[in-house]
Amino acid sequence: MKLSPDETVFWEYGFFHLNLTIVTTWVLMFVLVVGSALITRNLKSGMKISRWQCILEMVVTGINGQIKEVGLDKPEKYIAFIGTLFLFIAFANVCIIFPWYEPPTGSLSTTAALAVCVFMAVPFYGVGADGFVGYLKSYIEPTVIMLPFNLISEASRTLALAIRLFGNMMSGGLVVAILISITPLIFPIIMSALGLLTGMVQAYIFSILATVYIAAAVKKTDTTEN
């Protein structure tokens, strides 16, 4: 039994190899980008808009609202990163309804990659808000003694992000697989439905935590300034 889609390798050349995780990610990326491009190709700024445009506007404004609620004043600045995190994870998790589909988020490599992205994004936005020195100073606040704790906090939360998402998605898939072998009728459907819910919740948790970390970095520098 394969626990991760990483284990399904299609092509390999030394360090480079093409596994199911990467291929599935490309397919998801293609669907997301082409779908968005098709819908936004004929956008209207009037009062009457298409249903698809309405759905996309709802999604984008919803993400914007969430970012704002967390405490970031200019959500347009962060929506590309946070919105993509949410949409990618949510879309990847929702697709579990398709048979034989294995979500890339069930791969620790993918969740680690996303966690690393968040790990990089936090100092990126923090430095963008108050400069490099200002951001580094936030690690020795309120005293220098806090520096190791802050560093541990950064590393541990990145690890927590990766493990949380991977654990939830992998366990969901595993539970469904086990149930199919035991009771192939009804129960796997219920568990798949639960998996959909879990997937959406995980996407929300992941992106909201990323937002909170970025907001904390930006706010921290703001507070230091004040």
Binding site: F15, N19, E57
Partner: protein, 260 residues
């Protein structure tokens, strides 16, 4: 279970590519569309506010204009009423004057009619009296009225006072002056001769005579010479009657005019 570092790197790259693509094809267009719509809505709201403000101003102007219009209307109505009253008074005055003039003309016309009627009555009376007199004279004296009147005229000529004779002789300047003798009827040559001789006597000269018939004399003889006139006619007597009748008619006509 382990982390595949190539997959991690590949997924990081994939993720950033996805971030760029979604930013390019999803967030940017959607946010632009939303911004445009919000701007449009804000523009429409501002436009509506402006229109509302304009409408309010126009309403105020309209109310002000209405007020001014009402005031002007009242003023004009008042002016018109005054003008009509003045015109009415003027027209009434004029009509009063015209009525006065018409009344005067009517009064004059009535008086003229009265006068004409009196004249007609007098003429008729004269004629009737003359005819009655003529008939009475013929019946009583068997003499012609013309003869009698001529006789009376000749008697009057004979009985002329010296100053009258002097005036007649003064009027006769030369033998060539024509003496005009007018009678109501054609008189006989005998009477003409008598008249000639009597007048010549008075004039102490032989004058030229023209005998002419004038029916309006009615009866009698009238002698004219260079503006001097000597006459005895029935009309002289009848003139008194005419005056009397005229005066009586006037007195009876006055109240009629006053009543109108």
């Amino acid at each position: 279970m382990q982390i595949d570092w190539f997959t991690v790197i590949a997924q990081i790259l994939n993720f950033f590519i996805l971030v760029y693509l979604l930013k390019r094809f999803l967030y940017k267009p959607i946010l632009s569309a939303i911004d445009d719509r919000e701007k449009k809505i804000v523009g429409q709201i501002q436009d509506a506010e402006k229109k509302k403000s304009d409408a309010k101003k126009e309403k105020e102007q309209f109310v002000e204009k209405n007020k001014t219009f009402d005031e002007q209307k009242e003023q004009r109505v008042k002016e018109s009423v005054d003008a009509v009253k003045a015109e009415r008074k003027k027209q009434l005055d004029q009509v009063g004057k015209e009525a006065g003039v018409a009344r005067e003309e009517h009064k004059k016309s009535l008086l003229k009619m009265q006068d004409d009627m009196v004249k007609t009555i007098a003429e008729k009376t004269q004629r009737e009296v003359l005819q009655i007199s003529r008939k009475a004279l013929v019946d009583l004296a068997s003499a012609n009225l013309e003869e009698q009147t001529t006789a009376v005229f000749l008697d009057k000529l004979k009985a002329m006072k010296p100053e009258e004779i002097q005036r007649l002789t003064q009027a006769f300047k030369s033998d060539f002056d024509h003496v005009l003798v007018s009678t109501a009827f054609e008189i006989s040559s005998e009477l003409q001769t008598k008249i000639r001789s009597e007048v010549d006597k008075v004039l102490a000269a032989s004058a030229v005579y023209d005998f002419k018939v004038l029916p309006q004399i009615i009866s009698g003889v009238e002698l004219s010479l260079n503006g001097y006139k000597l006459a005895w006619t029935v009309s002289a007597y009848l003139d008194a009657l005419k005056d009397g009748v005229s005066e009586t008619s006037k007195q009876s006509a006055e109240p009629v005019v006053e009543e109108k």
